[in-house]
């Protein structure tokens, strides 16, 4: 106790200080610590919620990427299928078109051949006729003066005989 007195310890002051401390503690606890704690707790919750949302977002992003990949893959497959079908259709159309064109060309060729044949026939006939006419004309020219009254008389007598027979 002597020692405490030597140090300046006053029990009444000490109790008063303890009471002050308790009062300050209670006041601080009620008006300062609790709101701060509440604020901290809310912040913690917000952060946790944010983290959770971030995780969910990351997961969602991952799912979306996977889904996108899947959709892209499906789209690629569909596109490939469509391209294959289009290729097949175009090949078929090309084949049909070629066949039709070939048929048309064959028909045209056949018609052209027939036309050529027909026109050649006409030309040959015309040529034949012209050659004949020319030959006859030459014959007529060469025969002129070859026959005389003697032949004429013979023919006239034959003609008269024939007319008499008819009559």
């Amino acid at each position: 106790m002597e020692i405490l007195k030597n140090f300046g310890f006053e029990p009444i002051l000490f109790v008063a200080q303890i009471v002050n401390f308790v009062i300050i503690y209670l006041v601080l606890k009620k008006y300062l610590y609790q709101p701060i704690l509440k604020l901290l707790k809310d912040r913690k919750q917000t952060i946790a919620l944010g983290l959770k949302q971030a995780e969910e977002s990351a997961k969602l992003l991952e799912d979306t990427v996977k889904k996108e990949e899947k959709v892209l893959k499906e789209a690629q497959e569909k596109a490939k299928k469509l391209i294959d079908e289009a290729k097949a259709q175009s090949t078929e159309i090309l084949r049909l078109s070629e066949e039709e064109t070939k048929k048309k060309v064959d028909t045209m060729l056949s018609e052209a051949r027939n036309q050529i044949k027909y026109e050649t026939g006409i030309a040959e006939k015309r040529l034949e006729s012209n050659i004949t006419k020319l030959a006859v004309s030459l014959l007529e020219k060469s025969l002129t003066g070859l026959f005389g009254e003697k032949e004429q008389t013979v023919i006239m007598k034959n003609a008269i005989k024939k007319i008499k027979k008819v009559d």
């Binding site: 034949e128 026959f147 009254e149 004429q152 023919i155 007598k157 008269i160």
Partner: protein
């Protein structure tokens, strides 16, 4: 103008087997345009019936002419020179044509060749 009258006009247009120019002129003067056309047509027909045309490249010999006159007793025989026939004759009486000449034979050959397929 009826057919009977037309026939009479044609008959009186002939004198001694030949067409009388004076008579024909007198008749023609008295006819209208349409009647005149009918009259001329009838005269042409009568001429065709009365005349026999003998075409030949040479002149007709008397003995042959005589034979032809025997064949066509009531017709007038008109001898026409046609060197294009080459040799032979073409006898035309009304619408009948009798051909016996080289030209016709050659023409027939050409026709046959043209029609030959």
């Amino acid at each position: 103008m009826n057919k009977k009258l037309l026939k009479q006009l044609v008959l009186i247009s002939y004198k001694n087997g030949d067409l009388d120019n004076e008579t024909v002129s007198r008749i023609a003067d008295k006819l209208g345009r349409a009647e005149l056309k009918q009259y001329i047509k009838s005269l042409k027909n009568a001429e065709k019936l009365r005349n026999v045309y003998i075409e030949s490249p040479f002149g007709m010999q008397n003995d042959i002419m005589k034979e032809l006159k025997d064949i066509f007793p009531d017709q007038k025989i008109i001898d026409k020179n046609n060197p294009a026939l080459l040799v032979g004759t073409r006898i035309t009486h009304n619408d009948d044509i009798f051909e016996m000449n080289l030209k016709n034979s050659l023409d027939t050959i050409i026709e046959n060749i043209e029609n030959y397929d």
